[in-house]
Symmetry: none
Subunit: 247 residues, 2 copies
């Protein structure tokens, strides 16, 4: 579980925060750091603040786009301090850790800019928002502190799982691997959303001039369902059938 | 509970860590910072890293001795990364929070020097050691990160306690009507599924002779999303638009 989570820092301004995040990750057993357009990296300040977590920094992936950062990712969570006007599905760190452990594939947690967090396009990529409980009158966590809290919760859950496994192994025999629900990757979901948007235009439901609000609502709805690969194929089959009628 | 805990930093070398600890505390609703022989305080670096948590810094008590810092304290916990040769009683952050909430008086958590932690005389003052679970091969947390994790756990417990109180109050008071995600009723869902089935027939996607298996899959998918009334209206709007094209 800890090896399947990427911490994605977007347009981080202060290299010190990158270093502190790397240290927090390694302290908790996380390894995959992804930096989208960092203002300055590599940096001596980052290395100093990493305080020995050089492996995480050295292996960090630097990306130009979020698409690149989220390749092969099946679950995307976005850390958010603010409450949004449209109610996105939210989870707390404990809950988020459970979702990550259940995903059976790569997961990513996005952490936004120091002063402005994640923008709407980035939020659209998130299946859920991660909300760390804070003092409402002073709610903005340092980005590395947010990484620390989330990494800590993941480690706590991981330790619990290890403990449970040890207990089960003791009772001997293997646990049957059941046929599980595996959510589709971000790429598949993106393809679906593009297809959906085009179909809604084709059937005259969506005004191509102002698609944003409706599409955001639909993102929210389908991200909540977290369709599997098969389900995405069915949904796209339906969209294609509807498009044929509109010719 | 949050007001009764002092965070005691002993001989902190880097003023940045003092500022970051103050921010972490205020983020989680803690107020009492005690500094025992800080190398440099006040400091512009501390103020910058506190990022607005100036109240905590301004009200910090600076002490020459640990005795002075621990006046009137009923429970003392000491944060420790190392396992000690003498087995001190240990607790994790969750457990530590419970002890603090139970103490019914002032509590303090000691955080030692960046490089050497707490010394034996300081450990002698502790009722228990606080051990934050970490990666055994890279276990030394930044001092402000350790404060962050512990403050977060205390807030989580405090929120649970508030919630329990609220639940109790609700049982003879009123139920708060919050603007939440409320799933649509089964009638609305039934209407939607009938509409969906008819549309799939109209656009030639579904064979009306054997609709069962596909419809069961779609039930499972949309039930998982648990659409709200508004979302059902949007989905039915889309179905109607698709049906119009198929005439």
């Amino acid at each position: 579980m800890l090896k399947q989570v990427s911490i994605v820092l977007i347009e981080t301004s202060h290299p010190g925060n990158i270093g502190a995040a790397a240290r927090a990750m390694m302290n908790m057993g996380l390894e995959k750091l992804v930096l989208v357009r960092p203002h300055k990296f590599p940096s001596a300040t980052a290395t100093a603040r990493a305080s020995g977590a050089v492996k995480v920094l050295a292996e960090a992936r630097v990306c130009d786009t979020l698409d690149e950062a989220l390749q092969d990712t099946r679950l995307v969570l976005g850390a958010s301090a603010r409450s949004r006007s449209i109610a996105w599905p939210e989870c707390d760190p404990e809950n988020a850790s459970q979702k990550i452990s259940a995903v059976n594939g790569e997961a990513a947690i996005l952490f936004g800019r120091e002063h402005s967090g994640l923008n709407n396009e980035e939020l659209d990529r998130c299946h859920q928002l991660l909300k760390i409980p804070t003092n409402p009158t002073f709610s903005s966590l340092n980005v590395a502190s947010a990484v620390q809290v989330m990494a800590y919760e993941m480690r706590c859950l991981w330790l619990k799982m290890q403990q449970n496994e040890a207990n089960e192994a003791e009772q001997n025999g293997q646990v049957a691997q059941s046929e599980q629900h595996i959510p589709a990757s971000s790429e598949l979901m993106d393809g679906f959303y593009q297809h959906l948007e085009q179909t809604l235009i084709d059937v005259d439901y969506l005004d191509p001039e102002k698609p944003r609000r409706l599409m955001r609502r639909l993102h929210r709805l389908f991200n909540r369902a977290a369709p599997s690969d098969t389900e995405i194929n069915i949904l796209r089959g339906i969209l294609t059938a509807a498009q044929k009628q509109s010719k």
